[in-house]
Assembly symmetry: C2
Homo-oligomer: 191 residues x 2
C-alpha cells in the first residue's frame, strides 16, 4: 500500500506512513490526505516559471477535427517523462472531443460574460421571480457556461467524474512541478 501510494502521489515514504496513520490505514483517505498536502506544497510552486514542456496534437475522425495544445512544466526532465507526455496526449484528445473555447474562466473576455448575462436576463424576464432569485439563477447559468466552455472546468471526456483541472492537479502533485496548459487550438473542418 505504501508503494502504491508513493507511486500515485509522488510523496516520500515518511509522508505516506504518516498519512496512513492519520487515516487509520484507509487507502482512499490516505490518498486524500497526501493529495491535499501535495496541493498545499504546489500552491507555493504556482509562482515558479513553467516554460518547459511539450506541444502535442491529436487528429480526430479521419482528419475532420484537429487539436494542438501546449502543456508547460518547469524542467525538461519532467517534460520527457511518459506521465507528462501522456497527460499532453489526453488533453489534446479531450480538446478535440469537447471543444473548449478558453483555457480558464480568467480567459473569458468581459464582453462575452456581459453578453451571456444579458441573454440569461432576457430568458428569465417576466418570470415573476424576485431580483435576488433572478441574480442567483443568472450566476448559476454563468457557472454552467464556464463549465462548458473552459477547458480546466470541463469534465474529462474519458472520465466525467474528473474535471480537467483535477487531471492537471494530480499530475502537478505527482511530478512535483507546476504544470499548466498554456494554450490550445482546435480546428473543425468547415466550422
Amino acid at each position: 500500500m505504501i508503494k502504491e501510494l508513493r507511486e500515485l502521489t509522488g510523496a516520500g515514504i515518511m509522508d505516506v506512513k504518516e498519512a496512513l496513520n492519520e487515516a487509520g490505514d484507509d487507502r482512499d483517505a490516505a490518498l486524500d490526505i497526501l493529495r491535499k498536502k501535495g496541493m498545499a506544497k504546489l500552491a507555493k510552486k504556482a509562482d515558479r516559471v513553467a516554460k518547459e514542456g511539450i506541444v502535442e496534437s491529436y487528429i480526430h475522425a479521419g482528419g475532420r477535427i484537429g487539436a494542438l495544445v501546449e502543456l508547460n512544466c518547469e524542467t525538461d526532465f519532467v517534460a520527457r517523462t511518459a506521465d507528462f507526455q501522456n497527460l499532453a496526449k489526453e488533453l489534446a484528445l479531450h480538446i478535440a472531443a469537447a471543444n473548449p473555447l478558453y483555457v480558464s474562466r480568467d480567459d473569458v473576455p468581459e464582453e462575452v460574460i456581459a453578453k451571456e448575462m444579458e441573454i440569461y436576463k432576457e430568458q428569465s424576464a417576466g418570470s415573476g421571480k424576485s431580483e435576488d432569485v433572478m441574480q442567483k439563477m443568472m450566476e448559476g447559468k454563468l457557472e454552467k457556461y464556464f463549465e462548458e466552455s473552459c477547458l480546466l472546468e470541463q469534465p474529462f471526456v474519458k472520465d466525467s467524474e474528473k474535471k480537467i483541472s483535477d487531471l492537471i492537479s494530480e499530475s502537478t502533485a505527482k511530478m512535483g512541478e507546476n504544470v499548466q496548459v498554456r494554450r490550445f487550438a482546435r480546428f473543425m473542418l468547415g466550422n
Copy 2:
C-alpha cells in the same frame, strides 16, 4: 511522354497531345502550356466552395514546436486521396519549420502594414535619396515582409525554388478542385 504529362497535370489525352504539338514535342514546354491551361480553368473554380478537406498536424523537434493546418477542397473524394493528404502533411511540416504569421497577404492587418512602413521610413531617413526612390525601396521591403510572413508566399522549406502558393496551384491543377489553406496554428514552446 503523354502518360507522364497526364499524370503530372491531370489533363486529358487530347489536351496533352495538343500541348505537345504546340510545344514541338518539348516536354517541359508542354508541361508549362498544360499548367497554364489548368490555372485558367481553375480561376473559374475559385468561386466554388471549398469546405471539405482535412485537418493535419506536425510535431517537430521532440515536441518543442507543433503546427495544425486546415486544408480545404471541394469534395470528400479529393480529401481522401493520398496526394491531398500528403500536401496537408507537407504544409504542416512547413508551417512548423518556417513560422508564417498569416495565410496570405490579404490577412495582414492594416495596422501591421502601417507599422512596417513606418519602420522602413525611419530606416531610410536621412539617406538623401529622392521621395520616389524611397517609396520604391519601402515597397520592396514590404514585399520582402510578405514573403517572409505569409505562408502562401514563403519558399517551401523542402524546395526553395517553389513558393507554397506554387505547391497549392500544382495540387489544384492536378486534382481539378479548388484547394485552399483555410487557417493554421503554430505553437513554439515558451514563445
